[in-house]
Symmetry: C2
Subunit: 420 residues, 2 copies
Amino acid sequence: MERIFATYLIETPYEVEQAAAVLAGEQSSGTFVSVPGETEELRARFAARVEHIELLDEVPTPSMPGDFLPGKIYKQAKVIVSWSVENFEYNIPALISTLQGNLYELRQFTGLKLDDFELPNSYREHFRGPKFGLRGTKELAGVGPKRPMVGTIIKPSVGLTPDYTADLVRTLAEAGIDFIKDDELLTSSANSPFAERVEKVMRVINEHADKTGKKIMYAFNITGDCRTMQTNYETVVNAGGTCAMVSVNSVGWAATKQICNWGGLSIHGHRNGWGMLNRHPFLGINFPAYNKIWRLAGVDQMHVNGIKNKFWESDDSVVRSIKSCHKPFLNSESVLPVVSSGQWGGQAFETYERTKSTDLLYMAGGGIMAHPSGPVGGVSALRQAWKAAVSGMTLEQAAQEYKEFGESVLKFGRKEVNAQ
Amino acid sequence: MERIFATYLIETPYEVEQAAAVLAGEQSSGTFVSVPGETEELRARFAARVEHIELLDEVPTPSMPGDFLPGKIYKQAKVIVSWSVENFEYNIPALISTLQGNLYELRQFTGLKLDDFELPNSYREHFRGPKFGLRGTKELAGVGPKRPMVGTIIKPSVGLTPDYTADLVRTLAEAGIDFIKDDELLTSSANSPFAERVEKVMRVINEHADKTGKKIMYAFNITGDCRTMQTNYETVVNAGGTCAMVSVNSVGWAATKQICNWGGLSIHGHRNGWGMLNRHPFLGINFPAYNKIWRLAGVDQMHVNGIKNKFWESDDSVVRSIKSCHKPFLNSESVLPVVSSGQWGGQAFETYERTKSTDLLYMAGGGIMAHPSGPVGGVSALRQAWKAAVSGMTLEQAAQEYKEFGESVLKFGRKEVNAQ
């Protein structure tokens, strides 16, 4: 029978073998004493198995509260556990409850993080994955393989009127932007009702498309309860939009899956709240596992932070995330990695150097909107930076070559230039 | 204009005022530089405000990776931040993205935990809260105010057939149980398809109700994608069931809300995965905030762990959770706290002592099923323990007075007896 394999990083004051056995027991038989009805045959068929243990490190203090054994050190290890598909069939929320359920509460661990998981081939028949994904979304936005999509976020996050937003969209359209999104803090607010914003923004986008043949992708933030999301989704479709944004953690898996099933829009997955799930090195979930869960829902675009971002995340972690979006999974479309957070053209060089890929949505908020020559200069600078990075130029060469990029280096780039 | 207030526990190497201002900025204007369009007027109307700061402690090492300032100590504080309701209207996923969104990624913090939040009165018109809640669920199960509902979990979690499960239900019914639930690891499995399990279990429960007038509440685990949950919900309703269980973290807020809206079943909210969100003292979310989010969805019953549980959580934290379930919120029904995890009758005494309440669903898995006299003895022992606790007896007195409870003390209670 096919099995599902999950890799965990664990920390424990006990013997690692013993702690891993507790994890497997809790997540399959699930009680603290032997009970009638638990036969050897049942155990063989349904029990989770510890498949592999690799010791990593030993530390004197625990990462989190848990059992304390006097004089003990805390062992960190990588552990692989497997379950039969018979346990959950093809029910992803049930899989989530198994891979990342009660096990985080076990006192035998002072650290536990789900790193990645692998599903057997039969899942291919049950999950389409992203309807558009990486290739489909770039095609929908009319962006070829040789460069990333260039995008921006409407800022300030809340407070602008639909008219002001539509005016900004016009300016950005004329500057050659590929993608614009609502901020995740804005859904429908007192002075920017959702339907009115869609109507006014799409009028600009449709007119621009009629004139130029290029339809800018705008990710309208439809995040809400099921009814609101359905209404808002239909509003976007009827206005000729191509994309909707969902704050996936806030909405949850089941409703996000439902939205992706409809298949009429590329779904922009915003992972706000991710820090709660990932920030501690020994608690929560790492991106490769997280990303697969949302690919199973059918999310087409997924946020991954960016090189030298304004948040805490390391560049290595960002690069790993970009690569997991690109990596094949269940023969479905790859996910478009959304590079965002404190970005401007300056990070294009290292991003390209480390990923050798233009299969990105490269987003700058303030980096475009606060460019010295305004949003038009901001978009130009980003396009220039990527052109230069792909052609093998350095940041300094590009700053000499391109006026708008040069201006952005002066405004945003002091740290990066000095560091080189 | 009405405002929403959120309380955070924070840790930072910066001045607390400065770090709190970054949090408020990120969660309302949302960019790292001033941008055109961000006027003073907009800021006054839509910007988040830091309302209150209370220094708690200073520590030499950070709780989590973040900015490092040489020679700095890390300050821990309680901070209250507020937002205008105009920012999100009555959209709870948008509220979640604001209260627990990107702020967890800010490098200015080495710890951040949402502790609680308060909503203005106008939310009462938009959210019914739990349809059944604490009182309605106890009534539905035919349990009066003088004692808790007594429940158990079918164990082992996975592997039993519907026939075996139905036989166990018959035994437990005859023993006088009020409530039984599927384990969170079981939805529909190869040898226990959901519909067959409902049919066979409900036949036993309905027959028992016909004979005795008491309809045992069985929480069938309907967790899954939207379509599966709807089908499974209808299966339970059509079979005469009164309850469905949802793993709320795995399913997510929007789909859970949808299910609660239907209003035909008491919804048992299982919080598996909670450890990811709460285990670290300075990361994630505390129960008072978490519980309110799910009360807004309409969940009727919510897991809270138990005194001397098998997990890591402290008794103080458990007691705080029970009290937050009981506490009024938006004039809606309170939530029934589900006390569970390594429970047997022995903890009834301290649970009652510390909460002075019988408004609980008190659950034992192994504590009932592995009782020396079998499940019948297990149920009797729990009922006896609560009767004794409410009447003011000590555990020792109860062990002398009641045969089955005495047996459970011998099997499960060594630690507790010695400790007294």
